[in-house]
Amino acid sequence: MIEHNDIDRIPGRSTTGHEWDGIRELNTPLPRWWILAFYATILWAIGYWVVYPAWPLLSNYTTGALHYSTRASVVSDLAGLEKLRGEKMAVLGKASLTEIENDPALLALARARGKTVFADNCAPCHGSGAAGAKGYPNLNDDDWLWGGSLDQILQTIQFGARSGHAEAHEGQMLAFGRDGILKIGEIVTVANYVRSLSGLTTAANFDAAAATRIFAENCAVCHGENAKGNQALGAPNLTDGIWLYGSDEATLVETISYGRTGVMPAWSGRLDPITVKALAVYVHSLGGGQ
């Protein structure tokens, strides 16, 4: 109800009667299209209530005429995705590991699949770039505890190491100190010896002859006479420049005294065989594969 009689001179229409710093607003009715759109949105809302889940109830909600559920649609989307991928992935399943690596298209496919699976499953230990960390091998380099060929990598991923799986890699670095096999002096000596094998500096008073004897009697069984390691036992090569836990004297003394038993889980039960295969190709293609 307009009680004032305030007509704007130029368009000759009434105003709202309010004034802000000399500006008055025309009392313009809402446009018809706007009103119609407004009613349309109300109708739309009602339709929405009927068709889709909308109203929360005490212990449940109205499910709507379409029984739409985001969870169900995600499940069906995922199923569709699996189906879509399945066709392409099946090709990977049929080809051998070497065939995959030598076919650019298959290699690209396996690497793409491997990369995402690696990020989801392996990155927590080995790092997103597979560069590893102390105690977790760098998968980019060419130093492999259990072998770096395609088949060996596949096997390690499938069954793991010390994972409890029947076919897992087994191998034990003994706790020479804790179990009283070697005395602390001998441990320090052999630690220095091991450093000398890969060209690192040794302590001044280090007794090389004693060290050679201690090594031959205690360590050579697993690491070999020449300390080049043994992949069947997961015994690392002690003559190269790569150290899983570190190469300083204190770390080596700790390793020899208490032993090391890193665990790699078995993935065969958790990932499907084609995915594991793709993963093996991906890890091999990081560059260190043999």
Binding site: R9, A108, S128, G129, A131, N138, S285, L286, G287
Partner: protein
């Protein structure tokens, strides 16, 4: 003389609304120089637009043979002998710069000639006006009809007009989509309703916009929607030729009969006989005699109209003509007219156009059809191998822009004694990785560079990747870094 102007009148003049409700314009048909130019330009422009998709250009087996094609799904643009990849979109930047410069130059020479002769809005509006005139008659007929109640015959004419408009609009939208797919196939698919939905949607959008913009909004588009008039008005200067009513010659306007009487008595009267022909033919519905106006698209039709009148009454033509601001003053002062198309501004624009053209031409002629890009691994940036050497990983993307498969070799110039290895390739050739590049595609490779390092090595060394086409000898290279951990 001393007519008092009320305060109200002044205010209303100032408070004129920003938007004037649409008034229908009934432009009269006209003949003359500029009308002819407009017809010819329209024929050329629309002809190119409608027919270009059907022009063929042979590019070899498997490649599309359409001269102009924007192949969005495959991300390729074909323009006669040029095939552009998405990486080369900067050519379009060059084209846009060229377009802007050309517009500036046109503007410095002849004002809004783009608006009057070349703008699509002008071309299609002109076409729609022609249809309207052909079906419903010329200005006078339509004005008369508009004042009277509608009859059956006129309703039928109106239906016919809209049908033709819609056909033109529909064909306009149809031609648009033909630039994005093989034209002949698409026409067949469209006719048999096999074409993708997106094609129909775009035809719908362009049909609607052509019909509405050219059929209904017309000069409103130029006044309220288009940003060019503002930009061009800001660019123009006193030397630019604009459609101008030469009021120094035309005023005082005076009817023909009266002017003959007055002239016989030796009094000075202007040449304009106030016949209003110039306003009647104007598609923007303005009277050029009121001076330069935002609505004027500089189409020159008023020149044709006035020239016809002047010829009929035996006076000199070009009472309305392309003229610059300076000449009015000069003529009034009794000096000769002055035109200066060559002046610093036009020289700058023209040379910029030449430079951009030259740069683009050079880039186009010297562009390689073999290319590569290199991306260094970021995690880890470097890997130490068991023998103490260092390896860096790179993602190398090779581009083969040729229409056939080819074999390339990869070499590096990098740290001393560095070796290169391509994952998945070394089992074929050991010493120098060879790769097959499929035609018209990119190939992504994982490339590993290994180098023995000693403590004298620098922490970061440049490494140059070189790919060589074994058959053609084409070479491309890119540089990255080899870093130590």
């Amino acid at each position: 003389m001393n007519k008092t102007v009320s305060q109200d009148d002044l205010l209303i003049e100032e408070d004129r609304p920003l938007y004037v409700a649409h008034r229908t314009v009934y432009p009269q048909s006209v003949r003359g120089t500029f009308r002819t130019i407009k017809w010819r330009l329209m024929a050329v422009c629309l002809g190119i637009y409608y027919l270009l998709p059907f022009v063929r250009w042979h590019r070899g087996l498997g490649a599309p043979d359409q001269a102009v094609l924007l192949d969005l799904p495959n991300r390729r643009f074909y323009f006669f002998f040029i095939e552009l990849w998405p990486q080369e979109l900067y050519y379009f930047t060059g084209l846009l710069v060229l377009a802007a410069m050309a517009l500036f130059l046109m503007n410095a020479l002849g004002g809004r000639i783009w608006c009057g002769y070349l703008c699509p809005q002008t071309a299609w509006t002109d076409l729609f006006y022609a249809v309207e005139r052909w079906v419903e008659g010329d200005r006078r007929e339509r004005l008369r009809a508009a004042a009277r109640p509608i009859t059956m015959g006129r309703a039928a004419k109106r239906v016919l007009k809209h049908a033709i408009w819609l056909t033109v609009a529909w064909w306009t939208g149809g031609a648009w989509v033909l630039y994005f797919a093989d034209a002949q196939t698409l026409v067949r698919d469209l006719a048999t309703f096999q074409a993708p939905a997106i094609a129909y949607i775009w035809i719908g959008i362009l049909t609607a916009s052509t019909y509405l913009l050219a059929g209904y909004m017309r000069e409103q588009v130029c006044v309220y929607m288009c940003p060019w008039p503002r930009i061009q008005a800001a660019l123009t200067d006193e030397w630019a030729l604009n459609v101008t009513y030469k009021y120094d010659r035309g005023e005082q306007r005076c009817s023909l009969k009266k002017s003959v009487d007055l002239r016989a008595r030796g009094e000075r009267v202007g040449d304009c006989i106030d016949c209003n022909q110039c306003a009647a033919v104007c598609p923007a519905g303005i009277d050029i005699r009121n001076g330069a106006q935002l609505g004027c698209i500089q189409c020159g039709l008023c020149i044709d109209a006035c020239d016809a009148v002047m010829k009929k009454v035996g006076r000199k033509t070009r009472l309305i003509g392309y003229d610059n601001d300076i000449n009015i003053r000069r003529r009034m002062d009794g000096k000769s007219e002055l035109f200066k198309p060559v002046r610093p501004r036009t020289i700058v624009y023209a040379s910029l156009i030449a430079v951009v053209c030259a740069v683009m031409l050079y880039a186009l002629l010297s562009r390689t059809l073999l290319d590569l890009s290199v991306l260094h691994d970021r995690n880890p940036v470097a890997v130490k191998l068991s023998d103490g050497s260092i390896r860096n990983g790179y993602t190398v993307r090779l581009l083969n822009k040729r229409g056939f498969d080819r074999v390339v070799a990869i070499d590096i110039d990098g740290p001393p004694e560095a070796s290169v290895h391509v994952v998945g390739v070394d089992s074929v050739t050991v010493d120098r990785p060879m790769i097959v590049l499929a035609r018209d595609t990119t190939t992504e490779l994982r490339v590993l560079v290994t180098a023995p390092v000693d403590n004298k090595s620098e922490r970061s060394m440049p490494v140059r990747f070189r790919v060589t086409d074994i058959g053609l000898g084409e070479v491309a290279s890119a540089t990255d870094h080899f870093v130590l951990p």
